[in-house]
Symmetry: C4
Subunit: 182 residues, 4 copies
């Protein structure tokens, strides 16, 4: 989770306090990415906890998911740099949102594929499986809404991405723990 | 603990020895951050060793704490760049101190919340719990003193942050070990 | 797998969308390196799963292999920067291909040395050992073909490196799992 | 072991092949640092495998050692940048050598302190302890020789640092393994 390196000041020593305050888009983008990667990691652990064995497709889906998540620092950097300029901010916010959405879709596809291909642990109850499937879906809808919103209010959308990550985070953790101990 | 990348020379090959010596604020900032992250990690392990289960609030507090600690390289970089200029050094030192203080407060809050919400392991004795609570407090006071001092003597304050980290480090480790073996 | 930091935009806020699209060599190079490191890691796990003990030569071969793989971000960066200019693209693509080939050769040598020096686990069957030996070879031929192709069509060669990594990835994973559970 | 980021080309697309070849000090510095960190890590594991419990001094010595090793990328970068200019190369090579020597001295001090303070595992035989003590010493002498040599022939000294790391690496690994299984 080394998303940092992102936030660099302009190098003017005249008014460092002002300069630090001016970096707010970096802080917002950092917080959003940190929470999103955290949420993705927790959700991924929950899914992995239920999967018993992997086949070739699952391994490739998993690699693709990791690749998209590892790619996140790039849109984060764009967001941090362009959040204060209206036109570019829309592009950066949309690019960011689409990357997160891709990760969320991939995680959902990976889980549905694992259920469909009977790779899930045999002692997992049907109710638990359905619950996890249900959990992974609302995030998708939330990201689509935020991407649309980001075309008009890019900064609000980033706050939205942060909020979705925080909302997802807590309940999935408990689910993941239940999955690994039961 | 990859705090590095920070210390870069100006690129003048005339007097490299002098240039290396001139980077002393980077070395000081690096040593302070390395020790602080080390101390935070050890203290976090000690706290985690006593916690039995996590609820939604604890998971979020924990994420917030990790986010603040992962943010530390940014104030470190500011400190390394501006420690030799009097006005900016005050801002950089205060910004750095506030970030460390926020991490120390969050760790203390996380521990107090865990005790309050009865998430602590049932075999932990009351005396041990009180001892850890007491251990996490003096650091807070030390950081407040150093932040105030940093408004006048920024470099001294950074040496102070380094000293606090070294002081915290050793005893907490023993506490953490006791926690994980008893 | 922190191959990132690579993709940076030119800093022009006029047409960010266009700028993002113009970074396609970075994305291609990133995907190729991510898959290659992933494939190398999986292949390395498969080999390690069969090895029982290490001697001095094996430790040095292993260090050399890790060094080459850790070196990969440098040719990746060159590829990302020079893929759109015809002459330099050939050099960058060849340099990249030779680095990957060196990693693949080293892994193959490491495995053959382990088999030859009887460092392989005694419960591993001859058929399994031969299968792994056979698996590590076609990648070598593929890389040689792609390096030659890269002298004329550098971008196609990079797509080829990506394809080889994806092809290697899945079956070796299953082999690795079998190795660690049987 | 993410020593990279170091090797960056000048950005001239006229003769990329020449440019890549011109980066040889980066490759040498990278190889030397990679091997040294590898050797330090292996030696540290060997020492840790014999230590049963830690006291306050040992924890601080260990932090100091980790801090020095994590600092290595900075002299590596200096070496990579200034190895081709005669005057600066001497400074860079000496600075690099002193950093490695400091790490080697700290590891030796840490081990001697652990033996002296009776923190070593009780089932470790006296012969094994003496052997490890003896193993950690010749590296020190080698580094002192190389630092002296580096004042006249800086590049040769770097090759020497690389050679010492490779020499240390293999036998210590076997010692480490014996330590953790007996």
């Amino acid at each position: 989770l080394l998303v940092l390196e992102i936030s660099v000041p302009a190098g003017s020593e005249d008014d460092l306090l002002h300069e630090i305050a001016d970096q707010w888009p970096s802080y917002l983008a950092y917080a959003a990415s940190f929470s999103t990667i955290g949420a993705a990691w927790v959700a991924h652990s929950a899914v992995t906890g239920y999967i018993e064995r992997a086949d070739a497709t699952l391994v490739r889906l998993n690699l693709l998911l990791l690749m998209v998540i590892s790619f996140l620092p790039f849109p984060t950097k764009l967001l941090a740099e362009y959040a204060s300029e209206s036109d570019s901010a829309r592009v950066a916010s949309t690019f960011y949102g689409v990357t997160i959405l891709a990760a969320a879709v991939l995680l959902s596809v990976l889980w549905r594929y694992a259920v469909h291909a009977r790779l899930v642990r045999s002692d997992a109850e049907g109710a638990e499986i359905e619950m996890l499937t249900a959990r992974l879906t609302p995030g998708l809808a939330g990201y689509v809404v935020m991407i649309s919103l980001g075309l008009f209010l890019p900064v609000v959308a980033v706050v939205g991405y942060l909020a979705i990550a925080i909302l997802i985070l807590a309940p999935l953790r408990r689910r993941g723990r239940a999955g690994s101990s039961s």
